[in-house]
């Protein structure tokens, strides 16, 4: 006696394909970047009160947790960019299914490369 769907009313077996994961990544990265925006702008705005204020803020960012989230944000930004470009091509150039899985893999690849280069340069 099992329910037709799980407790959330969602059957995950129909979702585990490239296009769905690409959507999920695009949504999560989009929301995360949006929430980060005001904080990012506030931090840069510190420079209004002089270079010292910005320096002070940058010093604060020099801790493992902050650094890790910076790398994560670079990954999310690159993923949202590459995934977004793919979407623009699907919507404006009418790209059909076929090689979408490879393109989606490329999105994750580009994001990883960006995040890694950032992380390595940071070190």
């Amino acid at each position: 006696m099992t329910a037709r769907t799980n407790v959330l009313g969602v059957d995950w077996r129909t979702r585990g394909h490239a296009g769905w994961w690409a959507f999920a990544l695009h949504r999560v990265s989009g929301v995360a970047l949006t929430l980060f925006l005001p904080a990012h702008f506030w931090a840069l705005g510190q420079a209004l009160t002089g270079e010292a204020a910005l320096s002070g803020f940058l010093a604060w960012t020099d801790q493992p947790l902050v650094r890790a989230s910076e790398i994560a944000l670079v990954f999310l930004l690159a993923a949202h960019l590459a995934g977004g470009v793919r979407l623009l091509f699907v919507e404006f150039r009418g790209w059909r299914a076929g090689w979408q899985p490879s393109l989606i893999a490329a999105v994750v690849g580009i994001a990883t490369v960006c995040a890694l280069s950032f992380a390595l340069n940071l070190a």
Partner: protein, 114 residues
């Protein structure tokens, strides 16, 4: 304006801003990856951007596009999951857009002019 027309135009605004952002983010990512080499200092950042009309225009465009794009994206997500009354949602997102625009332009002024 009919709902059909409004949604169609908002979709277009979201996609046109996305195209602008695509270019901006490529530049932004490249700058970031290069800039953090050997640590990030305020002097270095401001040395690059202060007094530069090109950077001011670039970041200005960037901020305006993101102030259009981010609230529209949030609108879609919240419209699907939050089920708030449409007016409340749209007003909230308009305010959010203004906040992004204002803080964003303030940041541009801070790093390129002040």
């Amino acid at each position: 304006m009919s709902a059909a027309r409004r949604e169609a135009l908002l979709w277009l605004a979201s996609r046109v801003s996305a195209m602008i952002l695509a270019l901006c983010v490529v530049v932004h990512l490249a700058t970031m990856i290069v800039a953090v080499r050997g640590g990030l200092t305020a002097a270095e950042i401001l040395g690059r951007t202060r007094g530069s009309m090109v950077w001011a225009l670039f970041y200005g465009t960037f901020v305006i596009a993101v102030a259009v794009h981010a609230p529209l994206g949030l609108r879609t997500v919240l419209g699907e999951s939050a089920r708030w009354p449409e007016r409340v949602l749209d007003m909230g997102l308009l305010l959010f857009g203004i906040l992004v625009l204002f803080t964003g332009l303030r940041a541009v002024v801070a790093v390129t002019m002040a």
